[in-house]
Each structure stands twice: as structure tokens, then as C-alpha cells.
Symmetry: C2
Subunit: 88 residues, 2 copies
């Protein structure tokens, strides 16, 4: 399935979350990821994310899931992340 | 149509962008919005957003558009924004 993942985390935990999400999805904006993922891999990602998150500090993770990417049209306005960014 | 909007802005411009997006969509996370919007209203929102954005400073806005909300399943993990937050 195709997913969009956005998180809002306390500064201390952002680095860990970024590293985790990049193992599963494509990084397209500061705290936004997208990509094809299996249900099993997504469950694994969520479990690991919950381990990093601190709900008392209002950390949050939102997933939008779609069976097929073609049902969603993406439009980027302004700066678009490219491969170079990924290595910064 | 149903849209998800995420932005990544320089700190100086975040307040303006937040205020703008809240006029058109529902605020669901720090820099994430969703909602039903007409094509005309969306064009208006994009024009106003471009006026706020500074591309030299790598401001970016990503839109995911879907003809129908039912094609997307949303899952929130951790803290969920509620109406009270909206007035903070």
C-alpha cells in the first residue's frame, strides 16, 4: 500500500524518528515521508515509532493510507527535496 | 476534492502560513492540514501561500489531492489535536 507519514516530535526525539522513517519510506519534506510499504513493514515501523514517541509531550504521528498511489495527486510548491538533500 | 497540505517554512513566516491555511482547511498537526476544498478555493490558497513563501530559504508546501476522501484511511498515533488545541 501507499502511505504518507507526518510526525510532530519533541526536538530531542526528532533525529531518531527521522532515521527510523528513512529506513522504510522516502523523505519528502522536513517531517513528511511517503512510499509503498507492506502491512507487515508498516506495523513494524509503527511499533518502533511508538517506542521513540513520548505522548506526554504531545508527540504525534499521522498516517494516510491508500491502496494505490494513483488515487492521490502530489503537487510541490516551492523547494523540492532532491537526492542531494538526503545526504546533508 | 479532498486535500492534505503540509508545509515547511522559515520560523518568521510560520505564523502567517498557519493563519492562512486555517482559513481553508482543518489543522490536524503542527504543519499539517486536511479538508474538502474546491479547485477555485485551492488555487486561491496556493496563490496566497506563494506570496508568503520564500523559496530562497527553501520554504516548501506539498499538497496531496484526492477526488474522494474515502480513498484514504487516516490513522493517528500518539497525541491527537482536538478543538481545544485550535484555540491555544
Amino acid at each position: 500500500m501507499y502511505v504518507i507519514l507526518v510526525y510532530d516530535m519533541g526536538e530531542k526525539r526528532v533525529g531518531k524518528m527521522l532515521k527510523l522513517c528513512r529506513q522504510y519510506l522516502n523523505w519528502i519534506q522536513n517531517s513528511v515521508f511517503e512510499g509503498e510499504i507492506t502491512e507487515v513493514k508498516l506495523k513494524e515501523l509503527i511499533l518502533k515509532a511508538e517506542f521513540i514517541m513520548n505522548e506526554e509531550e504531545h508527540d504525534s504521528l499521522i498516517l494516510f493510507k491508500s491502496r494505490e498511489q494513483k488515487w492521490l495527486e502530489k503537487e510541490v510548491i516551492g523547494h523540492e527535496k532532491n537526492d542531494l538533500d538526503q545526504f546533508l
